[in-house]
């Protein structure tokens, strides 16, 4: 029997891996990959709660995860457009060298 705690542990491990990727990568696309991993772990938790927690309408968790996927798609499109625009300006998307706003 799969239990809610198993889903939560998998989600927490996936979230911490995604957090590490988002914090430690130097390439902007790498940071975006970490953010997507974190959003996936949140979705996994939502689906797990929809499956196991008592609720008058248990489908709500799946509806929320559809909304999260929508926002993630919009965020990925804008972030990758930003990466391409920054690359045109600086010929690099290494976030360590993006210090335009630092005086």
């Amino acid at each position: 029997m799969i239990d809610l705690e198993h889903v939560l542990v998998v989600g927490a491990l996936l979230f911490s891996i995604g957090l590490f990727v988002a914090l430690s990568k130097r390439n902007a696309v790498g940071i975006l990959m970490g953010i997507e991993l974190m959003l996936n772990s949140v979705n996994l938790n939502l689906i797990g709660f929809a499956r196991f927690v008592e609720s008058p309408r248990p489908i709500d968790g799946q509806v929320f995860s559809v909304f999260v996927i929508t926002v993630a798609a919009a965020e990925a499109a804008v972030a990758l457009a930003l990466a391409v625009a920054v690359y045109r300006l600086r010929s690099s998307i290494d976030v360590d060298r993006l210090n335009l706003l630092k005086w």
Partner: protein, 169 residues
């Protein structure tokens, strides 16, 4: 017997997901990192199926595996001079410790909380139909706002990468 198969599938998919997420963090080539990210997304979609969320699993395959990963590959291919290596910042170990501590806190909270669980879990007969009814009855305002958000994001992406009149391209 079928229950056992679901349990085995859950653990195998969880291991695939976590191992390929770790490979995203460690592999040297950025394109390989995106491919491992795709494998991780597929594993998460399989986990959704074992949790009886088949519509969300299909949406995950379509949007994450189909669209977002292709967007990422295009972004990598369109920025050729900025290095293919999946390098980390110089002091990555403290960041790993930080991420591990946050994960430990989340696991602790998840295991210690008394969740209001149903016995045996909720089963869904038709997830697509129920999600459609929920989107058009109680969640119709967020549904419309999501469509506006998608239009704004699409226009924003087009404006950001359009050549000319930005001064730089």
């Amino acid at each position: 017997m079928e229950d056992t198969a679901v349990i085995v599938a859950f653990y195998v998919l969880a291991i695939i997901t976590l191992v390929s997420a770790l490979m995203v963090a460690t592999v040297r080539d950025l394109v390989h990192a995106v491919l491992f990210l795709v494998l991780s997304f597929v594993g998460v979609a399989g986990l959704y199926i074992t949790l009886s969320a088949d519509f969300v699993a299909v949406v995950q395959i379509l949007i994450y595996v189909g669209a977002i990963s292709v967007l990422m590959l295009f972004a990598i291919l369109l920025t050729p001079r900025s290095g293919r290596d999946n390098a980390s910042v110089p002091f990555a170990a403290p960041l790993g410790v930080l991420a591990g501590l946050i994960g430990a806190v989340i696991i602790f909270v998840g295991l210690k909380t008394e969740w209001a669980k149903t016995s045996g879990g909720n089963t869904f007969e038709t997830t697509a139909g129920q999600i459609g009814e929920a989107l058009l009855d109680p969640y119709v305002i967020p549904f419309e706002v999501a469509s506006v958000l998608l239009v704004v994001a699409m226009l924003g992406a087009i404006v950001l990468v359009r050549p000319g009149d930005g001064g730089e391209a």
